[in-house]
Amino acid sequence: MNQVESKKKKVLFISSSGGHWIEMRRLEAAFEGFDKYYISTDPSYYQAITEGKFYAVPDASMWNKFRLLGQAIKILLLLIYIRPNIVISTGAAPGFFGLLFAKKMRIKTIWVDSLANVEQLSLSGQKVKPYADLWLTQWEHLSTPNGPYFYGAVL
């Protein structure tokens, strides 16, 4: 019996809508051969997926605690359901929760802070540090020897 062979690894892409999402989609090139799962805050984004499964979570920012809680709970449930091998995000709040819970579940985590954050790392990008196994910025001048690290940008 060799069941392991046919099992593909799973990657979960998680971000809020808009620029975060568009930047994140450009990182798909690194995940050839993976089963792809997506979580974002705009329910219409299922249209943009050609391969893989999409799930929507409530929209919330770091400034709205109540909606944030609803978003966090749904992300946790989806993580338990999907059981990805890797979670990757460009931001913002959904990505923070995705990485936080994934780290507790011993899932590998990657954070690529958005290009929009030129002068300083995003708030979620700063807070996610302890939960990001690979912690990256897309601006060289924001990188430090202890992270976030810079290896290029999606543009």
Binding site: G19, E23, L27, F31, L134, L136, G152, V154
Partner: protein, 161 residues
């Protein structure tokens, strides 16, 4: 066609009002605007509050000029398609964003030749007139790619997952 987008998060009425007023005196130009969750109702242009990915794709691909706030989504898409971008950043002091990070964003994107950045709505419309006049001289298409090093770094990191 002129495609206008203010992004998915916040309205940006200063931009939309300026374009709507401009369109009133330029009725030979077709304008489509995604205006966000705004109380302002444009009178001279076609518009929607939010746009799904299929319609966004369709509209933006047929645009001659893209006008937008300094959001990375529209900027990346415009660069990929080689369509000239006219960008006006949001300002925190006008209540258009929580902070002035869009000012910093545009500084770093200004090196691309297809991106024109304007500081206010008066310059926005005069620049738009200028760009339409020069439309025939189509700009060189910039193909933007993801950094190889970034993709390789991620691949190496996940290889033994």
């Amino acid at each position: 066609m002129i495609f206008v987008s203010v992004g998915s998060q916040l309205p940006f009425d200063r931009l939309i009002i300026a374009i709507d007023e401009w369109a009133a005196t330029h009725q030979d130009e077709t304008v489509f605007a995604q205006i966000g969750n705004s109380n302002f109702t444009p009178k001279h242009i076609e518009f929607c509050q939010t746009i799904d990915p299929i319609n966004y794709d369709k509209r933006i691909k047929s645009a001659d000029i893209i006008i937008a706030h300094a959001g990375t989504g529209t900027i990346i898409t415009g660069l990929e398609l080689g369509i000239p971008l006219l960008i006006m950043p949001r300002l925190a002091e006008k209540g258009e964003h929580r902070n002035n990070h869009q000012l910093a964003t545009v500084k770093h994107f200004s090196t691309f030749t297809t991106i024109t950045i304007v500081g206010n709505e008066q310059i926005l419309v005069t620049t738009l007139d200028q760009m339409l006049k020069n439309k025939s001289a189509s700009p060189e298409k910039i193909t933007t790619t993801v950094s190889n090093k970034l993709i390789t770094t991620i691949k190496d990191f996940i290889v033994d997952t």
